[in-house]
């Protein structure tokens, strides 16, 4: 790749002065040099595809939470790209119990200490975790 061919396709993922891709490309004399890139379309598309998939799953779960079929825990688990196994590893709460907590009837009656454990992992306040309104206004990753 020549220096002039280093892509600079800005799609809002990278940020100048903060994080850009460092590439190696050849100059006029064929010598390798470092060049910073703000992005490349194929990579940006791959990123969007991955985020789109997360958003689809999160959106489904969001509806189920609003309809009262699942607890907000299910929503934040999806939103944080976790499954029951990973959430269990992070919280130390057994998988079997987490599955029960996905049920809103069980979840809203949990001890504050358990709610706090979950809230900490999701970087939320206890109030936000318990409030379905916060789920409703939460935004997808691919905000276009």
């Amino acid at each position: 790749m020549k220096i002039k061919d280093v892509p600079q396709d800005d799609d809002g993922f990278l940020q100048e002065g903060k994080v850009r891709d460092l590439c190696y490309a050849i100059d006029e004399d064929g010598n390798y040099k470092q060049v910073l890139s703000i992005g490349w379309n194929p990579k940006n598309e791959a990123m969007k595809l991955a985020l789109q998939l997360v958003d689809e799953q999160v959106e489904n779960t969001k509806q189920a939470v609003i309809e009262g079929k699942l607890s907000p825990l299910a929503y934040y688990m999806e939103k944080n790209m976790m499954d029951v196994k990973l959430l269990s590893q992070y919280t130390g709460i057994p998988k079997r119990k987490i599955r029960k907590h996905l049920n809103p009837n069980v979840f809203f009656k949990l001890k504050p200490s358990l709610i706090e454990q979950y809230a900490k992992i999701f970087n939320l306040s206890i109030q936000d975790l318990l409030n379905i309104e916060s789920v409703k206004i939460s935004k997808p990753f691919n905000e276009e």
């Binding site: 790749m1 994080v19 460092l22 590439c23 379309n41 990579k43 976790m82 990753f141």
Partner: protein
């Protein structure tokens, strides 16, 4: 307290950490040099190991290998640790920092607060250096970032003990002893030999040049086997692994080409310049692959013929890389 470590950005995190630590001990090796000596160029496609429910395709050796190989090949002594207790992991790191020793470590990126939100997936093989502490804040040299970043005690403990696939378990490492003279030429030759061996002779079809062909054959059948949507997703994941921050297919070929260029000078073996050019050509082919793949998955694979094309392109790449490493294998001082 801040150790006088110079933060320099790199294309790949482990190269960057290794290069920055070596610079601190007055061994000024560039990123491509580290990458070449550490034999960082690799390929593996492992359909049965899944990350976020998608097969793992990797363009690098296991995390930690580059640092380990480079230091070993230069006769540099290192210490490495792994913990079960976060508090102990943090305390022992603090003690090292107080002694003026910069500490390299593995972290997960999901809770890495300074990372752009979109890059924060559950990926646990990221490397950075901690090189100072003031009150409750640590100074971080993260090779993918343009500038020095900071993390609080809690933030750092959280990323060091990220969970999921390949949990880092507080793994940290540092340079403990540097020899008076290093054998750079010998190290370069060993690195090239190792990369050639890894790319050509591992007797399992998932690795090296064989791995590229293995993926090429499987990829051709993805649309019929998985359906268009899932095939598009698998393909998208390959491109993410290929070209995401800190990893890379084409990117890695260009770093390796830069390494061969530098090595040609150090070893006084001009034939390596020719191989470097060939490597640049393969890098451009990987870029073409990513470009074509992105067009394919963007349409969610409505033209299944392109999977055939992609597969053919990978076969060409595999052949060219085989040729390159057959030449490189013969290197000697």
């Amino acid at each position: 307290m801040k150790i006088n470590l110079q933060h320099k950005q790199a294309a790949h995190c482990e190269n960057g950490v290794t290069s920055n630590l070596l610079h601190f001990y007055n061994i000024p090796l560039s990123e491509p040099m580290v990458f070449g000596i550490g034999a960082g160029l690799f390929f593996s496609h492992m359909p049965f190991i899944k990350l976020n429910f998608i097969p793992v395709t990797s363009f690098r050796p296991l995390p930690g290998f580059i640092f380990k190989r480079v230091t070993r090949r230069l006769g540099i002594k290192t210490k490495r640790f792994k913990y079960s207790n976060p508090q102990q992991a943090m305390n022992e790191m603090d003690l090292l920092l107080e002694k003026g020793i910069p500490v390299g470590m593995l972290v997960g990126v999901f809770y890495l607060s300074y990372f752009p939100q979109e890059f924060r997936f559950h990926f646990n093989a990221h490397n950075l250096v901690v090189f100072g502490k003031e009150n409750n804040t640590y100074f971080i040299s993260d090779p993918v970032m343009e500038n020095v970043e900071t993390l609080t005690y809690d933030e750092l403990a959280k990323v060091r003990f990220a969970k999921g696939t390949y949990p880092p378990k507080g793994r940290m490492y540092y340079i403990s002893e540097v020899p008076e003279k290093i054998d750079l030429k010998g190290a370069i030759v060993k690195g090239i030999k190792q990369a050639s061996k890894d790319m050509l002779t591992i007797p399992i079809p998932m690795f090296g040049v064989k791995g590229i062909r293995f993926m090429a054959k499987r990829l051709k059948r993805w649309p019929e086997k998985l359906g268009e949507k899932k095939a598009a997703l698998y393909l998208g994941q390959v491109i993410r692994m290929l070209e995401e921050i800190g990893t890379g297919g084409a990117g890695f070929r260009f770093i390796y080409a830069a390494f061969l260029q530098e090595a040609a000078g150090v070893l006084e073996q001009p034939w390596l310049l020719e191989v470097s050019k060939e490597m640049t050509i393969v890098g451009d082919k990987w870029r073409e692959f990513a470009y074509l793949a992105a067009r394919t998955f963007k349409k969610r694979g409505t033209e299944t013929a392109t999977y055939e094309q992609l597969s053919e392109l990978l076969m060409i790449i595999a052949n060219q890389e085989e040729e390159i490493f057959k030449k490189l294998k013969k290197i000697s001082l």
